[in-house]
């Protein structure tokens, strides 16, 4: 094009070229939701979800009927499963949001309107998040049932549900971001699954492998109750009158300083949910002092186990096992520094970076097109 005369550009006369954010997002949201509600796929997924959760719940109820902490463990189980299935469902609902439209030829139609890329992405994210929250709502009968069995207080339940919703939102944001960056829906769905797997499984693997990096030779003092030599008879049976005494041994061992690498686990969705939940730490008394003493065992649910695992990783190796500790058996650890804000922060950073790149990608007019792509 020749540039002999530079045409003058008039100043915009009226400001109607800007869409209010809320009404723009509402339009995109209702466009997405209408399509979802009129399709069959979403209902099928909801039905399958309900059946699977019901199956697991019934199985869990039958299995745990004898446990004293049935309500708490069942609640934990449902939360863990809803999170697991949510991580599987949310990419499916979100990761074809943008490139599905591109394949259908409707993306460019939206792009020539006054809709901005940010509004489009936000609307798509909101629609996929609400779509995945429906799965959470559908599992509420089981959550309420578990709550009715007792052992879980309101704050614990509320925070669990809130964190589940937040995690679904994070995965949806990752999915929507990837869907704008990848050209094909199949590729973006798989990529989103990979990213979710990286968070849920990858962090654990990296943590496990990293323990070798923080191995340190340490002297450990281990104490235990035993009977003095003098109180044993010739058969080695202690005199019934004898008192057990505390004895210590020291040895050296290679132990990982997990407190330095515990942060790797933070970005794990299960860790974020489990760590954020303020569960009560049960008192586990040692009933019989002495060797072979039987206390009531600490039996946490799935999510509580995850939380305890993280706390013990944060605490690092115990270099001084006292006689009291050896008596009490496995003791629940209280919360030290909460790790979930770090994890959620890392997740939001990932989702935010993807959405920013997506926004750049959707900003038109495009300077360059990827090889082999057409706008419309």
């Amino acid at each position: 094009m020749s540039t002999v005369t530079e045409p003058s550009t008039p100043q915009p006369v009226h400001s109607s070229t800007r869409l209010p954010f809320r009404s723009a997002v509402r339009t995109v949201f209702s466009l997405e939701m209408r399509q979802r509600l009129r399709g069959k796929g979403w209902y099928w997924m909801l039905a399958i979800w309900f059946v699977v959760i019901a199956f697991i719940f019934v199985l869990g109820t039958a299995f745990l009927a004898t446990t004293d902490n049935e309500g708490g463990i069942l609640f934990d189980l449902v939360v863990g499963f809803v999170l697991l299935f949510g991580l599987l469902v949310a990419p499916g609902l979100s990761a074809n949001a943008v490139n599905g439209d591109r394949a259908g030829g409707t993306l460019a139609i939206l792009q020539v309107t006054l809709l901005t890329p940010g509004q489009l992405l936000f609307g798509k994210w909101l629609a996929s998040w609400v779509g995945s929250l429906a799965f959470l709502v559908l599992s509420s009968p089981f959550i309420l049932w578990a709550l009715a069995l007792g052992g879980v207080d309101a704050a614990e339940a509320l925070v669990s549900l809130l964190m589940l919703a937040v995690e679904l939102g994070v995965v949806c944001a990752i999915g929507v971001g990837v869907s704008a960056l990848a050209n094909r829906p199949l590729f973006s769905i798989v990529s989103t699954y990979m990213l979710v797997a990286l968070l849920a499984v990858g962090t654990v693997i990296v943590f496990g492998l990293s323990t070798t990096l923080v191995m340190e030779e340490r002297t450990v003092r281990s104490s235990y109750y035993t009977y003095p030599e003098s109180s044993l008879d010739s058969m080695g049976v202690p005199d019934p009158e004898a008192e057990a005494v505390c004895q210590s041994q020291t040895y050296t061992a290679e132990l990982p300083d997990t407190q330095y690498i515990a942060w790797i686990l933070a970005a794990n969705p299960f860790v974020v949910v489990a760590d954020a939940v303020p569960y009560k730490i049960p008192d586990v008394p040692a009933t019989v002092p002495g060797p072979g003493g039987t206390g009531s065992f600490y039996s946490p649910g799935v999510m509580e186990t995850v939380s305890q695992g993280v706390r013990s990783a944060q605490a690092g190796p115990d270099l001084d096992v006292t006689c009291e500790e050896s008596m009490l058996g496995r003791q629940p650890l209280p919360q030290g520094v909460p790790i979930w804000p770090l994890g959620l922060g890392l997740q939001l950073l990932l989702a935010g970076a993807l959405l920013l790149m997506a926004r750049r990608r959707l900003t038109m007019p495009a300077r360059r097109l990827a090889q082999g792509t057409r706008i419309a």
């Binding site: 008039p10 869409l19 259908g104 409707t106 460019a108």
Partner: protein, 291 residues
């Protein structure tokens, strides 16, 4: 891939400007640039006075773009599609609903207005796409192959719709390679080949240029003898089912002279007509690469 190298044209308001060129000549890419979806590396574009690169929102509020690919939200009804797009142009719910109803009447989709768009035929989807481009009453219309897939009746209606839009002072840019249609719609034509604008002319100019006529007579031998005696060069047309001769004539005056002379010479003329539309003549004379 360089789709556009050097295209220079002006589409004045109140006229229909046709972009003509073979497949892959850059018509769609040019329309994408004008629709603010693609930025040119060099050169300037002004649409309704605004630069689509630096003022895309200003341009978007003033253009109606109809892509050559049919993007349809299949589960939405035609009415919902129009209302949604209206909302995205900042129209109020009442305004866009009223306008959507009007446009459904205009493109004869009223009876399908409340049905999901997936039941629409290709031609009906094409009409819905046109209505979508018109929802916010844009000043400039960019239509990419608007007539493809339309039945003859719909084509006639498209023609009168575009003429009435131009008469209302809108700028209409139409890309097509169906030349016979553009003859009747367009006021001016820009010929595009390999990403360059090769020729730009108004339809009046196109009408007054040399063009070919086909002539049929009974018997053809008498016609051949007569043409030879006047020194008029002719060729046998090979691509037609009937036997006919093609003659190149400089103007309409020359054509009327030849017809009168042949009739007076007692040659039984059964057909005498321009071989193609005015634009087709230009198109063929440019000898562009046809893919």
């Amino acid at each position: 891939m360089q789709a556009i190298r050097d295209i220079d044209f002006v589409a004045p308001p109140g006229e229909v400007t046709a972009l003509i060129g073979p497949n892959g000549s850059g018509k769609t890419t040019l329309l994408l640039m004008m629709a603010s979806l693609l930025a040119p590396d060099l050169g300037t574009i002004r649409v309704a006075g605004f630069d689509p690169v630096t003022q895309p929102a200003e341009v978007r509020s003033r253009i109606g773009w109809m892509p050559d690919t049919l993007g349809v939200w299949e589960s939405l009804t035609a009415f919902e599609v129009l209302k949604t797009v209206g909302a995205l142009y900042g129209m109020s719910a009442a305004d866009s609903a009223r306008r959507a109803d009007e446009l459904l009447v205009t493109v004869h989709l009223t009876e399908f207005g409340r049905q999901p768009a997936r039941v629409l035929s290709r031609g009906q989807q094409q009409r819905l796409s046109l209505a979508r481009a018109l929802i916010h009453d844009p000043q400039v219309l960019l239509l990419d192959e608007p007539a493809s897939g339309l039945d003859p009746g719909s084509r006639v209606e498209l023609r009168s719709l575009l003429r009435s839009l131009a008469a209302a002072g809108k700028t209409v840019v139409v890309s097509s390679h169906v030349l016979s249609e553009l003859d009747e719609i367009a006021d001016r034509a820009v010929f595009v080949s390999r990403g360059r604008s090769v020729k730009s002319q108004t339809l009046d100019e196109a009408g007054s240029q040399a063009r070919r006529y086909y002539v049929q007579a009974e018997p053809m031998t008498a016609l051949a003898a007569a043409l030879q005696s006047y020194g008029v060069r002719f060729e046998k047309r090979g691509d037609s089912r009937r036997e006919e001769f093609l003659v190149q004539l400089g103007s309409t005056a020359e054509a009327s002279w030849l017809l009168r002379t042949l009739v007076l010479a007692d040659v039984v003329i059964t057909a005498f007509a321009p071989a193609g539309g005015a634009l087709e003549e230009t198109y063929m004379s440019l000898d562009t690469d046809r893919l």
